[in-house]
């Protein structure tokens, strides 16, 4: 589901222009018919295993029950009212958004130079970097998180090293904190950021850099005025990807943050699996989904309305 959602977001960011339908043919032959036929199986699959469960969860979120057996169920907004009046859940939502934003930012700052290097490199080097960037995806996220344990625990490599160097006097709380979750998430989703940015960097006509250089732009000015704005579509879709993946991430926050960092997916899991509050959990998950969609919408809309709107056409 995470992946499906992420793809949706990406479409929103970089709307591919539909090829103009040839009107004359459309009238006679219905050119969409074969395409629809091919789509049928996947549409049925999506409907049965994605749309229906989602609608069912939405339905559940409007049910209020007094007890676990579901007796005395009635339609009401009480789940949502509880959620928006209890500071615990509001705080959890805020922490989730904050961590997702910061993870996107860290991934952007780390990913952009890599993408830039890739875009400028020869085909060989580019293939090598792509391989390096994508290789962590081959390792299970659980294994990777336990790898971070070795590095980030109070007696782990990082703290030991910093203490031995005399830079800190006592171990930092890197694990089981927001910092740990941000480290884990930005690391895990860095490949998505790099690949999104590199795609938009490839699309920049190399002669634009020449044109700006000959007009007197130094390499730095060139980057700020030409390369950076023209790679905005990649930055936006990379950020949207990392943000929405982070918003719905469960494993990394659970392992790297634990009880100290109660992000929404962890809270939802708790409600449904441990407390058996299906209806409240459903409401929580819809609020999470709504927040993600709204943030992404505002973010991309902001860019598309900005002075760089021409870049997104």
């Amino acid at each position: 589901m995470e992946a499906a959602r992420a793809q949706n977001h990406q479409k929103r960011v970089a709307p591919k222009e539909q090829p103009p339908q040839q009107e004359k043919r459309a009238k006679k032959r219905k050119p969409w018919a074969p395409g629809l036929l091919l789509l049928t199986s996947i549409l049925l699959f999506l409907f049965g295993f994605f749309v229906v469960p989602m609608l069912y969860i939405l339905y559940l979120s409007f049910i209020s029950t007094d007890n676990l057996s579901g007796e005395g169920a009635s339609y009401s907004l009480s789940n949502y009212i509880t959620l928006f009046t209890d500071s615990y859940y509001l705080n959890s939502l805020w922490v989730t958004v904050k961590i997702s934003l910061l993870s996107s930012l860290v991934a952007l700052v780390l990913g952009y130079p890599i993408a830039l290097t890739m875009a400028k490199a020869s085909a060989k080097i580019r293939a090598l970097i792509t391989l390096l960037i994508a290789s962590p995806l081959l390792v299970s996220i659980v294994v990777r998180n336990f790898g971070w344990y070795l590095l980030l625990l109070p007696n782990g490599t990082v703290n030991t090293l910093l203490m031995d160097l005399g830079l800190i006097s006592k171990p930092m709380n890197l694990l089981f904190s927001e910092v740990g979750v941000i480290i884990g998430l930005s690391n895990a989703y860095l490949p998505f950021m790099v690949l999104a940015i590199v795609t938009s960097l490839y699309n920049i006509d190399p002669s634009l850099e020449k044109a700006s250089a000959i007009l007197g732009a130094s390499p730095l000015r060139n980057f700020l005025s030409i390369t950076l704005p023209l790679s905005l579509p990649g930055i936006v879709s990379g950020c949207v990807l990392v943000f929405s993946l982070s918003m719905s991430a469960y494993v990394t926050p659970a392992l790297m943050g634990g009880a100290n960092v109660p992000v929404m997916p962890v809270v939802v899991y708790d409600q449904i699996n441990n407390l058996l509050q299906w209806t409240f959990g459903s409401a929580l998950s819809y609020v999470l989904l709504g927040t993600t969609l709204l943030s992404v919408f505002l973010f991309t809309r902001g860019f598309e309305k900005s002075k760089f709107k021409e870049v997104f056409r």
């Binding site: 002669s207 020449k210 044109a211 700006s212 007009l215 007197g216 732009a217 390499p219 005025s225 023209l230």
Partner: protein, 366 residues
Amino acid sequence: MTTAISDVEIKGAIKKFGSNIVLNSIDLEVKQGELLTLLGPSGCGKSTTLNLIAGFLEADQGDVFIKGKKVTKVPPYKRDLGMVFQTYSLFPHMTVYDNLNFGLKLRKIAKSEQKKKIDRVLELVKLSGLEQRYPRELSGGQRQRVAIARALVVEPELLLLDEPLSNLDAKLRHELRLEIKRLQKEIGVTTIFVTHDQEEALSLSDRVVVMNAGKIEQISTPTSIYKHPKTEFVFQFIGKSNSFEGMVTSTDQERIMVQAGQEVTSVSWDNVIGENRTFQNGDEVKLYIRPENIHISESQEAVDGYELHPAKITQLNYLGTSWEIDVAFMGKSLQILTNEYRSSWKEGSEVFVGWKPQELKIIRKE
């Protein structure tokens, strides 16, 4: 050109890409205010030469001077040039106005001056009123005009044009070619124009540099390039030509007598192409004649004192202002470009062809 100050000078430039020698010791001077064309087939080194001047490439050996200053190691952004690219290269995220203002801002021109300069240059390229358009909203011809305006607005030391017309259709290309010529004369900026289109080069330039395989074949005015080619390559590259093989039978002070097939013809020493200008009896030579210099007629009556010989039409192509006629002549195919067309002619018609001996060019066969 009375003034002989050179705005650009390239001395002994050698450039290799791997083991491939792209420029093989180029020497070039561009005079102040002239429009110089670098002409040649793709891979001849013309774009590399332009890139050396622009600073996008650095020669392995040799130096580049602009206005007497050595700029061999100076990066492009410090050279104060204007350049127009084949792909327009307008900044897609900026309006026409911002595209033009880009160079002005970098030169820290005052705001009030910026607008004046932009208005003036837009008027020059006939695009006033399109300031707020984005490049996407312009036609190909308009984009290239903006690109030219963007290069000119900064009042550069030199204007470099890298095949600026090759992405446009024939009519626009012609229109813009005339416009570039007009602008260049009006502003007087020293201009280097790279093209593979000989018509473009001949019609635009004060001087043409014909390049081939990393070397300069000839630097001369368009007319002298066409009429007095220095090398066989130049002759063949500029315009079309028919060739015959022959053998020198005798030479004297004025002429070289050549036997070609059954015919013996004489060629003036002025018409010798190439470095090797000595001929001896029995030397194998090639004779060249331009299609437009062949006379074609229905009767065998001699014209201007030269003989006509029978030939047979194999193909007729109408070109609008003239006819391109292929004939079979002495077992060879000849191409003729003429206005003297008779409507009775068709494929297979018997005709007579001939030419003035002074139109024949001669070169020693290597």
